[in-house]
């Protein structure tokens, strides 16, 4: 958000802050606040679903009071992005469409990045994309798009590293597991007495750990490994990297 704010200030100093004719390329930085970007994005989405969009539709979708929406629309109209008359329908100008499309594009490839590459669930991916889309510079956004495309191509070609990446992304710290979860040991971080003690006790790669219980005060954790029970502090469990098996036993 900070970055966007700075760019806007700089443009103001240049004298024509909202002159979009200077920026015909819609993939350029849009000098809109994240808030305004959200309006643009949502109006565009509503227009795809319905023929006509009214202030109350926008208010409902964004969960905002109508007067606020009206004020925002007024601003967007001043910038030449929206066609809007009082009590009338809301339409996007050609310029407005381009801006909205560019924001939506960022949103969709970010969602794809989180969902397909980082293997996150749809809801979380959407949420993260909504937050990040406003802060990505055009350069970063371009390069990221290239990356997503590259990844998809490699996936199509059946490259090995894709699978490795997938499994690495599943790794967690032992301290992140929930009661009842089972996990396979990947490696132990760090060095020193803790690591040595864990190695001696048989914390080898591939060994299965079962998280049995957290102490009533959430620390330490009771786990079972091989055929015995151990108590381990959360800070110590932090240095054990595991791969969870299934969700719950």
């Amino acid at each position: 958000m900070h970055k966007v704010y700075v760019t806007m200030k700089m443009r103001r100093r240049q004298g024509n802050p909202f002159n979009f004719n200077d920026y015909p390329d819609t993939s350029m930085d849009t000098p809109l606040s994240p808030n305004m970007e959200d309006y643009m994005e949502n109006i565009s989405m509503l227009l795809k679903e319905h023929d006509v969009v009214r202030v109350k539709d926008i208010a409902k979708k964004l969960n905002i009071r109508m007067p606020s929406v009206t004020a925002a629309l007024q601003k967007l109209k001043e910038k030449g992005l929206v066609d809007y008359e009082k009590y009338g329908h809301v339409q996007l100008t050609t310029k407005g469409k381009e801006v909205a499309d560019s924001i939506y594009e960022k949103h969709s490839f970010l969602t794809e990045f989180f969902k397909e590459i980082l293997s996150m669930n749809t809801q979380e991916a959407e949420e993260q994309a909504c937050k990040l889309e406003h802060h990505l510079s055009s350069n970063a956004s371009n390069r990221m798009q290239r990356f997503v495309e590259f990844y998809k191509q490699e996936q199509l070609d059946g490259q090995q590293w894709i699978n490795r990446l997938d499994s690495v992304l599943e790794e967690k710290r032992l301290s992140e597991l929930k009661e009842g979860q089972k996990a396979e040991i990947i490696r132990i971080l760090g060095s020193g007495p803790l690591k040595k003690r864990l190695l001696e006790m048989g914390f080898r790669k591939g060994e299965i750990i079962h998280v049995l219980k957290y102490a009533p005060l959430k620390d330490p954790i009771e786990i079972s490994i091989k055929d015995f029970l151990l108590s381990i502090r959360v800070e110590e469990a932090h240095s054990i990297i595991v791969k969870p098996l299934g969700s719950h036993d």
């Binding site: 490696r187 132990i188 060095s191 020193g192 007495p193 803790l194 690591k195 040595k196 003690r197 864990l198 190695l199 001696e200 006790m201 048989g202 080898r204 790669k205 049995l212 219980k213 102490a215 009533p216 005060l217 959430k218 620390d219 330490p220 009771e222 091989k226 055929d227 015995f228 029970l229 151990l230 108590s231 381990i232 502090r233 110590e236």
Partner: protein, 725 residues
């Protein structure tokens, strides 16, 4: 006499039943001492078998032979330096993989090993069938299955020890296969090491060096080609790290486990059994989010109650017996110095030690039950978060709570803490737990000066102690005891029913070590303190006061007879009686005080008095504190003597006297005095216990620390209280 004695070292993981095997082998023929230079227990015992005398040294429980902890280093140096005839390696048959890791290291250190497959019955219940012959063949060492608690297999173990003795090992020598790269590295280092004559196995040294073992490095340092060896070690380590993409310790331990699982695949057959896992069922109650803590407090309450409330009855019996013995000696011996020494010095001194015996017996009965059953580890699991925030260990909790009863057994109970730093810390803050001996002082002063708020004042004392303990723990943690704390990774052993034999042996052990080790020191100190409080004899003071008393008596008699002659008013006679009584009383108090002032202890009290003046104490308080070094109850009895309180209803009488304004004790100084008594040197027995458990230097430190804190806090409390009251 032909040499027919064998020495064996008993080694094993914690919770593998090593102690039961030790007890089964040696019975009660045990002695406990410390390892040279460190306060880690060294337990020894012996037994006879087929004409041999076999000495058994019980080594501290260890997961490996690295030099990480004091215990591991002791075990390792025992094997390397004392060269026992056999190492009997006790392994938990139900938990073979992890237990045999230690065995692989024993192979490397080239110790002659006999494996004891203990708790073979539990392994069988788990569905494990172990082919002992195969295992013996794979590890190239005798294997004896046992059930220590039921005495099964013990005779076979004894036979095996005797049979293997003196016989050339028929088994081939085996090595743990590490693969070509590492094998090559080991050989390179081995050749370098073997250029010297060295008393340690060269392959073991080479492997230890590759693993980065610090103790092995110091062993190498003495060699002429030490620099060359070190340089080679570094380059080998770097090469191996590059080759395996992992650190060397991980690779080596992985290979050892690889060897073990390979062997187990051949020697152990596991059939799946449906098992009702009692341990997890109990844990789900004992460690439950809601029931866990209440249950822990109930357990503690029971333990505390048994130790200090139930223990009170035998304690009183012992006190009676001590009292009876001193009466007997008072009658036998002619009155005089000898009678005084025997009755007050020796019998009194020994009596003061022996009265704690019931408490110690019961507490250790409870603690060994908790330890052997597996609950102790659970209590540590529950409390660890809180204790850890103070830099302590979960297991510090129980000794601290026991301190409210008596610091002596509580300090002895810190033995369940494996780590030395944790133990020192727990011992050092233990005296802040207000023990029951301090209660009489609180009751006397709080009752006398704050009759309406006595219980709140007493509660404040306990709370202040706990707060000071926490502050001190934090302080020590960040200063003198700073340093890496050991990982908490603690095994939660399966619940087992402890055997009576183990518990009784454990209990007897503590009791006898208490009596032997503490008894001597305390007896000596009691005699010294008796001498200090009796000498030099203030004969001339006594005579002078006797004269004055006689004089007053004379005066009284004359005045009385003259009054009687005059047939005076009975009121005037009454007045005369009153006057006489007060004067006598005053004189008697003065006499006693002057007499005590003349003795060494009185002189010491007077000497330190200027230091105590800023706390609002009078000199009588100074003397009481000096005598209170023996035990805190003595503070009250000394005050009784100093203020000549009559023995019956002594407390009431005494409390009346100490509140008398002419002695200058104000409520503020009374509260400061209570605070001082709570904090300063706990008592002779506690100091001795600290010295026994963690060393004399710490005991001396503790004395100075406690006195210092006592002074500072009392000073603050005194001046605060003066503002408030």
């Amino acid at each position: 006499m032909t040499k027919k004695s064998i020495t064996i070292g008993l080694i094993g993981n914690p919770n593998c039943g090593k102690t039961t095997i030790f007890n089964a082998l040696t019975g009660a023929r045990q002695k406990v001492a410390n390892w040279a230079g460190v306060t880690v227990e060294r337990r020894e015992g012996f037994f006879h078998h087929k004409g041999y005398t076999i000495k058994v040294v019980d080594l501290p429980g260890a997961y490996s032979l690295t030099s990480l902890s004091m215990e591991e280093l002791i075990t390792r140096n025992f094997i390397l330096n004392e060269r026992p005839d056999f190492i009997v390696n006790v392994v938990d048959a139900g938990n073979l993989e992890r237990n045999l890791y230690l065995t692989t290291q024993l192979i490397e250190i080239e110790a002659p090993v006999i494996i004891v497959l203990n708790m073979i019955d539990e392994a069988y219940d788990k569905g494990l069938t172990i082919n002992t012959e195969k295992l013996s063949d794979l590890f190239a060492m005798p294997v004896v299955p046992t059930v220590g608690t039921k005495n099964i297999g013990i005779d076979q173990l004894k036979d095996t020890i005797v049979e293997s003795y003196g016989k050339q090992p028929t088994h081939r020598k085996i090595v743990i296969p590490y693969g070509n790269d590492i094998q090559q590295a080991i050989l390179t280092l081995q050749t370098l090491i073997e250029k010297n004559t060295i008393e340690y196995p060269s392959r073991w040294l080479a492997i230890s060096l590759i693993e980065g073992d610090i103790d092995a490095e110091t062993k190498i340092n003495r060699l002429p080609n030490a620099d060359e060896i070190k340089k080679t070690t570094t380059s080998i380590r770097n090469k191996l790290i590059a080759a395996f993409h992992d650190d060397v310790e991980t690779v080596l331990s992985d290979m050892r486990y690889g060897f073990i699982s390979g062997a187990l695949k051949e020697a152990v057959h596991k059939k799946p059994v449906k098992r009702y896992d009692i341990t997890q069922k109990i844990d789900s109650i004992v460690l439950n989010r809601y029931i866990g803590f209440p249950l822990l407090f109930v357990m503690l309450f029971i333990l505390f109650h048994l130790t200090f409330i139930l223990g009170e009855y035998p304690k009183q019996l012992i006190e009676l017996a001590v009292g009876w013995i001193s009466t007997v000696f008072s009658n036998i011996l002619p009155s005089g110095q000898l009678q005084n020494l025997v009755v007050q010095g020796i019998i009194g001194g020994v009596g003061s030690v022996i009265v704690f015996l019931p408490n110690i017996l019961i507490l250790f009965l409870g603690i060994s039950f908790m330890e052997d059953s597996g609950y102790m580890a659970r209590s540590a699991f529950l409390m660890d978060k809180i204790m850890h925030s103070l830099g302590l260990h979960g297991k510090s909790f129980i000794p601290l709570v026991m301190g409210f009863g008596c610091n002596v057994p509580a300090i002895m109970a810190t033995r369940s803490l494996e780590n030395k730093r944790d133990r020192i810390l727990t011992v050092l803050i233990n005296p802040f737990m207000s023990c029951s001996a301090r209660l009489p002082v609180y009751i006397l002063f709080a009752g006398a000066f704050f009759p309406k708020h006595a219980s709140i004042i007493i509660l404040f004392m306990y709370a202040l102690g706990i707060i000071l303990a926490f502050i001190s723990a934090k302080l020590f943690n960040n200063t003198i005891l700073r340093g890496k704390s050991m990982p908490f990774v603690m095994e939660l052993p399966p619940y087992r029913m402890p055997t009576l034999k183990t518990i009784l042996i454990h209990m007897w052990d503590r009791a006898s070590s208490y009596l032997k080790k503490m008894g001597g020191i305390i007896l000596a100190f009691s005699i010294i303190i008796w001498v200090l409080s009796e000498y030099p004899k203030p004969h001339h003071i006594e005579q002078e006061y006797d004269k004055r008393i006689q004089h007053i008596q004379q005066e009284f008699k004359t005045s009385l007879s003259s009054l009687q002659k005059q047939h005076a008013n009975p009121q005037i006679t009454e007045q005369l009686y009153q006057e006489y009584a007060t004067r006598m009383e005053d004189l008697e108090i003065e006499k006693r005080q002057e007499m005590i002032k003349y003795t060494f202890i009185g002189k010491t009290g007077l000497l330190i008095y200027p230091l105590l003046k800023p706390l609002g104490f009078n000199w009588q308080m100074g003397v009481s504190l000096t005598t209170g070094f023996v035990a805190k109850e003595v503070v009250v009895s000394t005050m009784g003597v100093l203020y000549h309180a009559t023995d019956d209803e002594s407390n009431q009488n005494l409390s009346k006297k100490i509140t008398n304004p002419r002695y200058g004790i104000t409520p503020a100084s009374a509260i400061a005095f209570m605070v001082f008594v709570m904090i300063y040197i706990p008592c002779l027995a506690t100091v001795t216990a600290i010295a026994r458990e963690i060393g004399t230097r710490w005991a001396v430190f503790s004395i100075f620390y406690q006195v210092f804190v006592a002074w500072v806090v009392s000073f603050a409390v005194y001046h605060l209280a003066r503002l408030v009251i």
